[in-house]
Symmetry: C2
Subunit: 311 residues, 2 copies
């Protein structure tokens, strides 16, 4: 079966599965694998390395002829020319996050781009819709990465937002397979975004130690930091993050030697962002395997529900 | 349509919807309304008031001829005769929670009861299955009440547990309507349990102020207390709980004048337990209205998913 809905049509993709824009990780190797597998790869900007990001976008043109997107992480990209940057690089789809949706939406829309804003609450969702976005990425607090300090789970947030907006919604936070995708669709989503699952994909550029930590970790092995400050974040439990969990405010300096973690594999060198769904990830696999199985499982769940509970 | 699965058959109910056993609240007025509406009402013991509980069980016989259950909240019921107590009161279904599942399961099973254990993690679920329970209540951390300090959301925990056990599973945490019930079923559950939704039901005995706080509250208006101690708990955000949120360890003395809150309506007198799903509850309604609408919505979601995504 194939899925046809507003997300697949708007983004021009076969499978309504997006890869989350993790800093340093969501680059061309991973993103092109997702786009080539029929989903939508997204290039990150939260690393702040715009020159590298530009090169990665150019690489995407070589690695795939399928659609892909770019995330503008507003809290991390201070360059006011970011809109010109994505337009000049012929990007067609942008997600904006960690900032005010009124800041870039109009300019991006006027340039002909499709714009989704990432939201962690209903009030943020309504504000984004007012700003004219084409859709939303609704991000539950169980997910990894930067978060609203008052985290709300996907099971609550997703149907709440979907019952208040008419734009298409992509579910993020806790999504890793066909069952969670089916649940998200039951709650009103028309697409899903996977982060932690993609960090542990074969094509992900992070060190094997990080992937192993995800594969071996339990569902209880994440911490939520900066609950009383901003930005809050969810990360894998390590000695460093277990210590930081007790602090009301965690300085971004605690990210320390990011690349020693990401590419050197020293899990204590920085903060390994990741979601609770790590407890459901049991193997490092190629992106195409993950996406194909997710679609099969989604189909299986649909059939099973209809058989058991169909009218 | 009617639902027929292992939960409806095992519990002898028409609608696979249970009412959570909130202390002082889950008594005969509320529980009989749930059972009479085709779900399963459960009488609480976490108040520790066993004499009152016994009277409530007797009242249930007068108020309904439908099945109902009793929860044994192991951390709060220190009376070793609790098994004799439920057997003598001719109770047929028990959920055990907040304790070791090996403690009561065998004795309850030998007495012919059906036993479900409430679990907040995969390891707890496996331990309960080993102890011989008939099923599980899998409780996501977005729910209200007493919790595991390392909270895991329903979207992650429920499919994780369902993929590891063969016993029937009831989903709790974030469930309030047919969409969330459908999502839970997509994740592998065969029943759901509603807590906060039932606190705000017309038949709930709590003061109108508490119900109003649920109706007016946003999805971000809960706090998670005792994250570094036990028992952790999720409650409505008030001045008291906002202050307690910063403390690593919250004494149970902070519950203060429980009845001034529950029945006097002073939200600052104690801690009003409640889940994030309060942000989705917009009216105080009779139990029968809630259950009937939930079943209709569940049916609508099943039809809609099949129409859009069926093979």
């Amino acid at each position: 079966m194939a899925i046809h809905n507003r997300i697949t049509e708007l983004l021009g993709i076969e499978k309504p599965i997006l890869q989350a824009p993790m800093g340093w990780i969501a680059r061309s190797a991973l993103a092109s694998a997702v786009s080539n597998a029929g989903g939508l790869g997204i290039i990150e900007t939260s690393s702040g390395e715009l020159d590298n990001v530009k090169r990665e976008i150019e690489l995407m043109r070589e690695l795939t002829d399928k659609p892909f997107g770019v995330n503008i992480a507003q809290a991390f990209v201070r360059d006011p020319n970011i809109v010109e940057f994505v337009v000049a690089n012929n990007v067609k789809f942008v997600t904006t996050s960690a900032g005010d949706p009124t800041k870039y939406t109009s300019a991006l829309k006027e340039a002909g781009l499709t714009v989704f804003h990432v939201v962690p609450t209903l009030s943020a969702a309504l504000k984004a819709v007012d700003a004219g976005v084409d859709g939303l990425v609704v991000e539950g607090g169980e997910g990894g990465g930067f978060k609203n300090p008052r985290d709300v789970s996907t099971m609550v947030l997703l149907p709440l937002v979907c019952s208040h907006v008419n734009v298409p919604v992509i579910a993020a936070g806790g999504i890793t397979d066909g069952a969670s995708m089916a649940a998200a669709f039951a709650l009103g989503a028309e697409g899903v975004q996977m982060g932690t699952r993609m960090v542990a994909a074969a094509e992900s550029p992070v060190h094997q130690n990080w992937k192993n930590a995800i594969v071996e970790g339990a569902e209880t092995d994440t911490v939520f930091l900066n609950r009383f400050s901003r930005p809050a974040l969810r990360a894998l439990r390590t000695e460093r993050t277990t210590r930081l969990e007790h602090e009301d405010s965690v300085s971004m300096m605690e990210f320390g030697a990011v690349k020693d973690l990401y590419f050197g594999g020293d899990l204590e060198a920085s903060i390994a962002l990741g979601g609770q769904v790590m407890g459901r990830i049991t193997a490092v696999e190629p992106v195409a395997t993950i996406l194909d199985r997710t679609m099969r499982e989604f189909d299986d769940v649909m059939r099973s529900l209809h058989t058991k509970y169909g009218a």
